[in-house]
Symmetry: C2
Subunit: 369 residues, 2 copies
């Protein structure tokens, strides 16, 4: 059962080295182009933008009938199975709950037993070896889940994304907008064009040298935006191969290879949203869970099928309506709005950490900006 189990208590007193690997830090800071005062000022601006977006999401979700819920952050595999390669574990040796949340999705699905639309804003944690221009170890994830099918989900995504964009367009704090490099022309361009939409298969056929089943890399995402649009218009990509997606995405009727899933690709930041209709056939759900890479890893690490049973039971017992949902990376939205190539410069968490590792990074005395 727990062959690989090892008491974490040995680590009770462990403090890692005092150094913070400089490769984590944006070049703009390492080279001194941004000093501590600049970072503090940027933090203030980013907090304002975050508040604008968070407030817009709250108002929009309330208008659309979503109830706000909260999800735990120290979880079992139920809350931490989106990407098993980047699971953070905490030193709570004897606890069933020892992983950091990656998504609130399965908890949100559970909340649909009581109400038919829910949303939450939580931290999502990923154990990246280093934070780089595309990867963060923690970010804010805005998630919605509701009793609608795939077409309904696409409509909800369009509505939510446009509500966020529109809030920034209407935002009266123009000096913060200017300081962050947010241009109304860019917002207007998107608001007037709406979101493009293509299937995964259309995307693969449009690009050279790809085979059906390949995943889309960040470079390919950029090419797709240029191929189908002008490079500055967001693109919804739908109907991905089941093999490269989460185990509970619903199969497309009549095609066992394709799931009703959607990614939203944004200019400058790439994939900012992932969503799907959820599988509601218990036998298919169990079979796909058992066949997934994630589950194979889970078994190899000493876990079992039982760890997923509370979720599978929800579906098997018909406790939830047929439903769909998605998660939006807030920092990716901010990155796209600012047309910024380095996501670390869009992350309040990242920049706060850099500021408090100033000495460990040998960046000199922090000055007031």
């Amino acid at each position: 059962m727990a062959a690989a189990f090892h008491p974490m208590s040995e680590f009770a007193d462990m403090i890692p080295p005092e150094t913070y690997d400089r490769r984590n830090v944006p070049p703009a800071i390492l080279t001194g182009r941004m000093n501590a005062g600049n970072v503090r000022h940027r933090l203030q601006l980013l907090n304002r933008l975050f508040s604008c977006l968070e407030g817009a999401a709250r108002v929009h979700c309330a208008r659309r009938g979503y109830s706000p819920v909260r999800v735990p952050n120290i979880v079992s595999t139920i809350g931490a199975c989106e990407n098993w390669r980047t699971l953070f574990k905490v030193d709570h040796a004897s606890s069933y709950f020892h992983l950091l949340t990656q998504t609130g999705q399965l908890f949100l699905e559970g909340a649909l037993t009581a109400t038919d639309r829910v949303w939450c804003l939580t931290k999502s944690f990923r154990k990246e070896s280093l934070e780089d221009h595309r990867h963060l170890c923690e970010f804010h994830l805005l998630e919605i889940e509701g009793a609608f099918d795939f077409e309904g989900l696409l409509e909800e995504i369009r509505g939510l994304y446009c509500a966020l964009l529109d809030a920034v367009r209407q935002w009266e704090d123009t000096s913060t907008k200017v300081a962050l490099g947010i241009e109304d022309a860019f917002l207007d361009h998107q608001l007037s064009r709406g979101l493009l939409q293509r299937t995964y298969t259309e995307c693969i056929e449009a690009l050279d040298g790809l085979r059906w089943g390949d995943d889309l890399t960040p470079e390919l995402e950029g090419e797709l935006l240029k191929h189908f649009g002008d490079g500055q218009t967001p693109l919804l990509v739908t109907h991905f191969p089941a093999a490269i997606k989460f185990f509970n995405m619903r199969m497309e009727d009549g095609d066992g290879r394709i799931v009703r899933s959607v990614d939203l690709l944004l200019p400058h930041s790439g994939e900012a949203l992932g969503g799907a209709e959820r599988e509601d056939d218990p036998a298919r759900l169990e079979a796909r869970l058992r066949a997934s890479d994630m589950f194979r890893h889970h078994l190899a690490a000493g876990g079992s099928y039982n760890d997923f049973k509370p979720y599978v039971t929800l579906i098997a017992e018909g406790l939830t309506p047929r439903h769909s949902g998605c998660g939006i990376g807030m920092e990716r939205i901010m990155q796209s709005l600012m047309r910024q190539e380095d996501i670390r410069l869009c992350s309040i968490d990242h920049l706060t950490k850099v500021l408090y590792a100033w000495d460990a990074l040998n960046l000199g005395v922090p000055r007031k900006g």
Copy 2:
């Protein structure tokens, strides 16, 4: 430097046992008095109450000129030094940031370089061996920090606490109020009386068998509420001994033994808030940091003074105005409002986890409520 350091990568594949210690779980659930359907229903009610309180805090803070900020949750000792006995570590062996947040306080203090009042709502993580009727491994912490002195802080606390209470009093969702056991009479009683206020020394003198310097236990907190009031009126306890409080609480002028700190004790839940004016004399700050139990533990575990330098520098360079702040445990507020003796029944996180450990707890098939 890092004598006790040990590579966490050994744990890369560790999954703990499949069982969830039943001692974590409230008796009401273990005995079957609450089934899964009851828990789901309660989660819905608690989410509504949380939204009511969170919304009230947001509106109140905006009115009082506080800017909302966000703080990281995977931190260095700067964000995790409130209670070194309950530090959670994550398996990020080579990272400077490897602890889970206990408080955003030192980050909020840093944000005062840019604006003079800030607030945040974050998760606070405590590695309790078990969750019990008074202890949770994760809870929501509402924190304010601003450019005011100790008297100003007390005024802010009174205002914020009454704003939360008043929002619940005015709340129109009366069926949720009734279902959660919240009584308007209890709210009216508190709103009409306001908060009692006594010094720590007065508290020690009022109780039998205590010596100056002793900490207040939960049992003593309950006795104090009865001694100075009717047991149902909150009590602000001020001016604690420096030795039992956080290193950066400001010394009371003329008395090196006492700090300008405050705890708020609530009926039914006990200590729900801790706050203080912050030390702004760099020499005294450094001396008190070095003399603290927390720092001794930090050194023993391989840390160094440098880990606190980014914070001490803020104060030494005079980058922040003289300031004060506090943190409020949201679940303790909810517990008091519901006059509930078991905090686990007031925690969305705890009850969500129980629901998803239903099989591991051998609680039978979850039923729809």
